[in-house]
Symmetry: C2
Subunit: 125 residues, 2 copies
């Protein structure tokens, strides 16, 4: 620890140049995490994901997968068979994301009660 002022030299993030924001832009949308978590177990075909994720529309599944592929987190493999078959799986990069995601999930599990309580306290006041 520093002697006089114990101050972390981390600069103020400048909006665009903030690494955390970059992850959150990837993972912050409604379905990304769910998809990544599922693909963390095994590879899935398109309609398999569609059935496994309750409430997602075909449109959003396509869109979200495209983003994840673009960011190099998910690999898409299309087979030119009839009927067509497309497999999605995590890349090595995608798999590395599981750990911090699990940390966040753990935090949520541990503290969701506190959060609900805080909300109720706040909303009743």
């Amino acid at each position: 620890m520093s002697a006089t002022h114990l101050h972390v030299p981390v600069p103020v993030p400048a909006d665009n140049d903030c690494p955390v924001r970059e992850v959150l832009d990837i993972v912050g949308n409604k379905w990304s995490v769910m998809i990544v978590v599922l693909l963390g177990r095994r590879s899935y075909r398109f309609n398999e994901l569609h059935r496994s994720i309750e409430g997602i529309s075909q449109r959003m599944l396509t869109r979200t997968l495209r983003l994840l592929v673009r960011d190099g987190l998910v690999a898409r493999t299309a087979y030119a068979t009839v009927p067509p078959r497309v497999d999605y799986e995590l890349t090595d990069l995608g798999r590395t994301l599981l750990e911090p995601l699990t940390a966040l999930s753990g935090w949520a599990d541990t503290h969701r009660g506190d959060i609900r309580a805080a909300r109720q306290r706040h909303d009743s006041a």
Copy 2:
């Protein structure tokens, strides 16, 4: 490393009942993380935050702070002085969030290059 194959025990999330989503709804918006990180260092007054976070509007600062207070992550202390003075600081709960957030930030730092590369590969193809 102790784990042989870091396996994620997270069950299939059911949209509303997904703990990760709950955190991401808190932390996924544009300014929350930046505020939490700043308050992780020390307490701030309103305009101090306003000056420290480049690009945020008064409106969004207020709104985001309100959300964080509601969720019990940030404490607001108003002094009835003239001129008025309001201090914001992390609660104990808020401080616990710093760790998983740092994990995510670390991931971003480590892999932002890979992501940029993947994007360029994808966008040129």
